[in-house]
């Protein structure tokens, strides 16, 4: 097939890269660093405080002024918090919802984006306009009838309301982002493939998706973070404890053990940590993804 064109030239360059050029002498940068470090410390202080509290003994929590380094470090808070509520269960529930919802999001959003970016069909502009306008639709308007629909389907207290809707388009923002990226792939590739008799499905699966890996990675990460953090949907749909996700488990935990801050912060840390690790391993895609979405208006 004629589509094995070398695409090295067409790959989007990492756009958050600094433009070339020498730095100013360090002493001229220093005031900026002092300012940025101060603000950075303020922004990270709550997270440091979270971890610090999660390792304190109950007595050490209620001390003023607070101490940052726990003494002694009390690792037992973690197994104790895990024993107080079935957090392992919540973790796996969250994982199941996140995996299935993310899969649906990436698959169906990329399908719609492919059609909007690469195929010509009647009313395409109209449908795409609708995609964009749903971006601005407050979700609260659709919440109650959707709840009634799922109740009618007997889906309350199952994971289905948290998963199934994402298999139907995966969200306007993701469609928009992927479409923007797909449009940067040279159209000649599709045309060459069609000449060779490739169908739209092959072009989608064997040309566009492999070339759009960075954008797909971005949408995957956005989606994982969103589903991991989702609170309102599980609050409304998941009622029995063994179905709870971590977000709901954590909230329920706070109701039961309102003053057990060390456990509460240990449980919170367990929910936050996987996300921070994911972000660090894939931050390139996350930050650049926002740039390539063109969401900034150009």
């Amino acid at each position: 097939m004629a589509i094995s064109v070398d695409l090295a030239e067409d790959k989007p360059t990492p756009m958050l890269e600094q433009p070339g050029g020498r730095f100013r002498p360090f002493w001229r940068e220093l005031p900026w660093h002092l300012l940025l470090i101060t603000i950075g410390v303020v922004l990270l202080a709550p997270l440091a405080w979270l971890v610090s509290t999660s390792l304190k003994s109950p007595g050490a929590i209620f001390v003023m002024p607070p101490r940052w380094i726990p003494n002694p470090i009390r690792w037992e808070n973690y197994p104790e918090a895990l024993a107080a509520q079935p957090f392992v269960r919540f973790f796996f529930n969250t994982l199941i919802v996140t995996v299935f919802a993310t899969t649906g999001t990436v698959l169906t959003a990329s399908m719609a984006a492919f059609a909007f970016a690469r195929l010509r069909f009647p009313m395409r502009a109209f449908w795409f306009g609708l995609v964009i306008s749903t971006l601005m639709l407050p979700s609260i308007v659709t919440l109650i009838p959707t709840f009634i629909l799922f109740r009618y389907l007997k889906w309350i207290d199952t994971f289905l309301p948290l998963i199934v809707p994402y298999w139907f388009g995966g969200g306007a923002f993701n469609i928009f982002l992927l479409r923007q990226f797909f449009m940067t792939i040279p159209l000649e590739l599709d045309e060459a493939a069609r000449m060779d008799g490739a169908s739209s499905y092959r072009i989608y699966a064997q040309i566009i998706l492999p070339l759009a890996k960075p954008a797909l990675a971005t949408v995957t990460i956005f989606s994982i973070i969103a589903h991991w953090n989702e609170f309102v949907l599980p609050l409304i749909y998941l009622h029995s404890t063994e179905k709870w996700t971590m977000a709901i488990g954590l909230q329920g935990f706070s109701g039961l053990y309102a003053t057990q801050w060390h456990w509460l912060m240990a449980a919170s840390t367990m929910m936050v940590l996987p996300l921070i690790l994911l972000f660090f391993s894939a931050q390139r895609y996350y930050l650049e993804g926002i740039q390539m979405s063109g969401i900034a208006g150009r």
Partner: protein, 305 residues
């Protein structure tokens, strides 16, 4: 690949093929739009004219839910609380995000590291961050008062004082400026360097460059952020659900929290649907006004002004 079709016929059949493929590829979205967006919107409008406690059969009551709503003191109270959060919180949040984005656009050593650090709070799950801030605002042992005391200021009852509670939640929202920051930064990165170079040649100072190049070129990104931030802020829910449960003295009883209680605790689906539609109209009006105002201040490349 050989085919018996003549060239024009073949092209026509290819077009047909493409049209059908197009619809097949958007089909999941299209079904989702009909079932989870358009359908529910119509349904919630219809339900807003009903009395429906979900276990009892629905009864048509006309505009009774709306007249009841407009006589409900809580409706005005929650609207006020929400407006406070939107019109004080969103502009300050956006201004801070803009300042942060401009700092992140500086050509400094280690700027990528700062970007990461400033962004991390934005990925923290809202439940975890709400519990964390509940603890930070603890009047006796929280970090917020420890910081005030350290600089010689008296402790505050952040979440217990009805006058302060809404603003405490706004302060908490400043923690997550990172999300807007990266979008604005993307906008800043997209401004062509040549514009600044030309301005420099014309003798423009930094302030003039900022005012006549940066702001106009960034205005689409600012506008986009503003629109989505206002729509999001009108629906503020989780923070007050977890941190203050609407208190103290209903000072943080926001519109959607009240709606949630009506729908999922009192099961007044009709009343809650009427509330949802009123909020929808309010948001629609504000979005429309912003689009109209944007003609005066948002600058799009390639458009003539």
């Amino acid at each position: 690949m050989t085919t018996a079709l003549s060239a024009p016929k073949r092209r026509r059949s290819l077009h047909w093929r493409e049209h059908i493929d197009g619809y097949i590829f958007i089909l999941p979205w299209l079904i989702g739009f009909l079932v989870f967006v358009a359908g529910p919107m119509v349904a919630s409008f219809v339900i807003s004219f009903m009395r429906w406690e979900i276990v009892t059969p629905p009864a048509w009551v006309g505009v009774a839910q709306y007249t009841k709503l407009f006589q409900d003191d809580r409706f005005y109270l929650t609207l006020y609380n929400t407006a406070y959060y939107v019109f004080i919180g969103v502009p300050l949040h956006l201004l801070l995000a803009l300042l942060a984005a401009m700092a992140m656009n500086l050509h400094l050593r280690g700027i990528r590291f700062y970007r990461t650090v400033y962004f991390i709070p934005s990925i923290t799950p809202v439940v975890a961050s709400s519990l964390l801030w509940l603890w930070i605002f603890n009047p006796e042992f929280g970090l917020a008062n420890a910081a005030l005391n350290a600089v010689g200021l008296p402790s505050l009852y952040w979440l217990q004082d009805p006058k302060l509670a809404k603003f405490a939640l706004i302060i908490m929202s400043f923690w997550t400026i990172g999300g807007q920051m990266v979008i604005l930064l993307a906008g800043l990165k997209g401004i062509p360097r040549t514009l600044y170079e030309a301005a420099e040649i014309d003798g423009a100072g930094q302030w003039a460059s900022f005012w006549h190049i940066t702001l106009p070129m960034l205005s689409p990104a600012i506008f986009f952020n503003l629109i989505l931030a206002i729509i999001g802020a009108f629906q503020v829910f989780t923070q007050s659900y977890i941190i203050t449960q609407g208190g103290p003295e209903n000072a943080t009883l926001f519109y959607v929290l009240y709606l949630y209680r009506m729908a999922f605790q009192n099961f007044q689906m009709g009343y809650a649907s009427a509330m949802a539609w009123v909020l929808f109209i309010i948001i629609l009006v504000f979005t429309f006004i912003q689009f109209r105002l944007s003609e005066r201040w948002v600058f799009y490349e390639g458009s003539v002004r």
